[in-house]
Symmetry: C2
Subunit: 180 residues, 2 copies
């Protein structure tokens, strides 16, 4: 039940059409809540039916035509409610850790190459986050909104830092293993 709220947040930040939202999910909100355009269109339809958002008047109802949405007061209220509500953390699912555990049983043959690839991907992601930090959060801006957004970005930076360190350590471990 989080996708509709992710969309409400994005639309409050700026009214947008479906593909705009999709692109923003690829870049920013999608770093911690990804969504495909199919999901987004379906959810926009639901949110409109529930009275949480509405299409901006400029939009025609034909198919291939751009259709932008804005959040209605009921939608903002729902987002406030959801943000404040207690929620249990969802259990993590991590394929790579699972594969390492499998490797402890069936051997590490072939796994090292993919660990290197993941390490590279995490390094790139970390570099991207650090660029965003330099660009969007120069020292001195301490508005409440900026501080919260920066906090979220720092979580991303620290998580990617963790993964690069851990993968480096894992690869060192592999180097010292009896060959599989």
């Amino acid at each position: 039940m989080s996708l509709p709220h992710a969309i409400l947040t994005a639309l409050l930040e700026r009214p947008s059409a479906g593909l705009d939202l999709t692109r923003r999910f690829d870049r920013s909100i999608g770093y911690f809540w990804s969504a495909s355009h199919q999901q987004i269109y379906r959810e926009l339809g639901k949110l409109e039916a529930e009275g949480f958002i509405r299409a901006l008047p400029a939009a025609q109802p034909t198919r291939g035509q751009k259709k932008s949405y804005e959040v209605l007061p009921a939608g903002r209220a729902e987002l406030e409610r959801w943000t404040a509500a207690a929620q249990d953390p969802k259990p993590h699912r991590d394929t790579l850790l699972l594969r390492l555990r499998a490797a402890a049983v069936v051997g590490t043959e072939g796994l090292e190459a993919d660990l290197r690839r993941h390490l590279d991907l995490h390094r790139r992601q970390l570099a991207e986050y650090e660029d965003i930090e330099k660009r969007d959060f120069p020292p001195g801006n301490d508005s409440a909104q900026a501080r919260l957004q920066h906090l979220v970005l720092r979580a991303g930076i620290e998580l990617e830092t963790f993964w690069t360190q851990w993968l480096t350590e894992a690869l060192e471990e592999f180097a010292g293993l009896p060959d599989s």
Copy 2:
């Protein structure tokens, strides 16, 4: 496509029946790949139909009776294949970060209490991991299998450490915020 491989790994570590597996998923494998008993039974049926596992001979075919499984050579081969295959990391989904981003737009009212609760949950999980580390990985055991398992556990420890630190930082940030 990871649940069947999680089950194969667990069954290779020790042949088990459905509920045994469910309990082990609650304690150990489930720390990074959770599954309910319904999922597990469904998947055991599929794996048996595919010839990857078989019921141990002792088992009767009646309903409420215990039925243990073991991995067949084809199952082991499939697990080896899957472990070595290149896989892209799945995008993360984190509700808490999403809520923080929403709070940057609609205000932080009511969120702080749940952050404290999450901090407490992560501290407990961290303590549990550290207990496991003390119990199962005393210094000196450096078999290949133990080193890989320890590596996985350290990932859990470091992730929980990150979350406790980040949440602490977030709560400090909240304390300095203009009240919402």
